[in-house]
């Protein structure tokens, strides 16, 4: 056994000193908060970039307020690249996987800490270093990377190209460090639930969020390798003059696309699954019903995860991919909608007939599910090669992946924040502000991205700085301005969240142990939990999670650590 496992963490006192407690902490709850603040910082930066991008598209020649001047195509590319990189790698993964994974896994399975606390601390510090490199890349000669978040060669492979100077090297190094951070985190997220469950917590009694984080980590560990190899080759191309990805020297730019998307598609699920997992926790609690189809959901996610390794070329239909490969990849891509349909229907069936409590977390979870269904359906269009050849690299694709990413990252992410904030910070968030935040976010999200499908079908391409240059896009300029107005309002709605988040931290109502009447183990300990997670013994588990709506029980719910009342049956 590793000597560093913190099974005995509860027996040591709380580490003293400001640095040990807030900065160099090995406590999973503090690390979770560090990840959360890193990701919220980057979310603000990424949101600001989204605003610059949208303003530029609506008013290409005008000065951008809060930026001061119009931007040209080169800068536009840099902002698009950084917006994508930041949102995928520095917001989505740290927030959903790392922050909530760290905070909840030990609390949900009844462990005192993660399996490797010091590795955990290292992972957040490596992410901090990656963040510093990415920040630095804004200020180096030649500007930040502008090759798109996918960094396709040949544009990314020679330092002489615009937007591929030192900023691109820093971008690659930042990504490499980010991957290293999540490799370390992923090992923790897999080993901790496998080896550190409390008595009675069988694998099939773990809350679904833990399963989702485990499967997401598994997908990440198994998919990132080829991209690491590709990143090494790209760094050699850029700095030592090799030609792995340059056709002029005998290389092949398509190889990078294969290596990137072999990682890139599983990565979509790395981001999506923890978000879905948060919905799977919130929905039973707020509809007072047990989850519908616990085991089928796990099987469906495993199947979807396995399929995600054989769909990657659907991102490359018009990249020069052999057309005979397009059909098999279309088939596997559309097949993947089967397990996800099962998951969506299981969540809808969980809501069906429940006594629903519409608090902020539930609004966000239901809204997130609705948007996810919608984004998933447009994915079927993109996945079939014949349709994709028309809509590829248009705003239809942009609207599609924002529907899936925004629902998983922000709607489900906000559901998670509102739901677990009391446990994390010991105070309740303001409910009225939360509901305003939800309706602003949800409605303005729809106002941005539903019309964007029309813009895409109308033929507007991604990554153009000035649609005014194209005569055939002129009829879309009204829609573009309307989308930009909605995007601004969407971003302004987030100030309700920002204020609520920081104000509640100091002035919010003190949170009871179990404000939402949840059944899983994290609600059996004080808010916020002490060092070691439970003041006394770690509770023992007697039945599966989600023991809601039980007729024999005094209340309508039985927490996992309480033996089921006779005749009630504890839910399945």
């Amino acid at each position: 056994m590793s000597g560093t496992t913190a099974a005995a963490g509860g027996h040591h006192g709380e580490p003293g000193g400001f640095l040990r407690k807030y900065v160099f902490s090995a406590d999973h709850k503090m690390i979770a908060r560090q990840y959360m603040f890193i990701s919220l910082f980057w979310a603000a930066v990424g949101g600001y970039f989204a605003y610059i991008i949208r303003w530029q598209l609506a008013h290409p020649e005008a000065d951008i307020p809060l930026f001061g001047r119009p931007i040209g195509p080169d800068e536009y590319n840099a902002f698009v690249t950084m917006h994508g990189t930041i949102m995928v790698f520095f917001v989505a993964m740290p927030l959903l996987l790392a922050s909530f994974g760290n905070f909840l896994i030990p609390l949900m399975i009844g462990a005192r800490d993660m399996a490797f606390p010091r590795l955990n601390m290292l992972s957040v510090w490596v992410l901090g270093a990656a963040s510093a490199l990415l920040l630095l890349s804004f200020f180096v000669e030649g500007g930040p990377a502008a090759g798109g978040w996918t960094g396709y060669p040949p544009l990314s492979a020679r330092t002489a190209y615009v937007g591929a100077d030192k900023g691109m090297d820093l971008w690659l190094l930042a990504l490499a460090l980010e991957f290293a951070s999540f490799l370390m985190g992923g090992i923790n997220f897999l080993v901790t639930p496998l080896n550190m469950r409390t008595r009675g917590m069988g694998l099939l009694r773990m809350p679904l969020f833990v399963w989702m984080v485990m499967i997401a980590s598994l997908l990440f560990l198994l998919s990132v390798g080829p991209l690491v190899a590709g990143a090494v080759m790209l760094l050699l191309d850029r700095n030592l003059g090799t030609s792995f990805f340059l056709a002029s020297g005998g290389g092949d730019p398509l190889l990078w696309q294969h290596l990137f998307w072999f990682f890139g598609h599983p990565e979509v699920y790395v981001i999506l699954l923890p978000g879905l997992g948060a919905m799977m926790e919130v929905m039973p609690t707020f509809s007072r019903k047990t989850i519908f189809g616990y085991r089928p959901i796990i099987v469906a996610v495993l199947v979807a995860g396995a399929l995600s390794f054989v769909v990657w070329a659907h991102h490359q239909y018009i990249s020069g991919l052999d057309p005979r490969l397009a059909t098999p990849f279309s088939v596997t891509t559309i097949l993947i909608s089967v397990p996800f349909a099962l998951i969506v229907f299981a969540l809808l069936a969980t809501l069906w007939g429940g006594s629903i409590r519409l608090a902020t977390p539930m609004w966000f979870a239901v809204g997130g599910l609705a948007v996810f269904i919608f984004g998933g359906l447009t994915g079927i269009f993109n996945g079939s090669a014949a349709v994709d050849i028309y809509i590829h690299d248009t705003y239809f694709v942009v609207a599609h992946f924002h529907s899936t990413f925004f629902s998983a990252l922000f709607l489900a992410g906000f559901a998670a924040i509102y739901y677990w904030y009391p446990k994390m910070f010991g105070r309740m968030m303001n409910e009225a502000l939360g509901q305003i935040h939800f309706w602003g976010t949800f409605l303005f999200f729809l106002a941005v991205f539903v019309p964007m499908h029309l813009v895409g079908v109308g033929g507007m391409m991604r990554r153009i700085a000035n649609p005014g240059q194209y005569e055939f896009l002129a009829p879309l300029s009204g829609l573009n301005r309307m989308i930009t107005m909605s995007a601004v309002l969407l971003l302004l709605s987030q100030f309700f969240f920002a204020f609520n988040f920081f104000w509640s931290m100091f002035r919010g109502r003190r949170a009871p142990d179990n404000p939402w009447e949840g059944t899983t183990l994290e609600w059996t300990t004080p808010s916020p939990p002490p060092h070691g997670n439970w003041p006394g013994e770690v509770p023992q588990v007697h039945h599966p999670p989600y023991g809601y709506g039980l007729p024999g029980a005094g209340e309508d719910w039985v927490p996992q650590h309480r033996p089921a009342p006779s005749g009630a049956g504890a839910g399945r």
Binding site: L222, P226, D252, H258, F262, G320, D322
Partner: protein
């Protein structure tokens, strides 16, 4: 495995096998014509890797779960190879 025999290490025999196989593959690359030589050296590399994995890394006495941690990535590497084969090798 590791507890057997008070004298002499059971791993010594594996090491001797490995050295012999390594030298055999060098010899094959020198003596044999091109195609049989390539077949021989890659086959011998597989045997050597299997010996290290089975005995030094104890996969011989490990359970299914640990086996799957090494076999699933290998299967995925094969999937990657087959998926990229057409584009990089035949369509250039």
């Amino acid at each position: 495995m590791k507890e057997s025999g008070a004298h002499g290490s059971p791993y010594l025999l594996i090491w001797i096998y490995l050295v012999v196989l390594a030298l055999a593959s060098v010899a094959a690359s020198i003596v044999l014509p091109k195609v049989p030589a390539e077949l021989a050296i890659y086959f011998l590399a597989l045997v050597k890797a299997a010996l290290v994995a089975m005995y030094f890394m104890h996969l011989k006495v490990e359970r299914f779960f640990i086996h799957s941690l090494s076999l699933i990535p290998l299967a995925l590497v094969l999937v990657l190879f087959l998926g990229v084969l057409q584009d990089v090798v035949f369509n250039r």
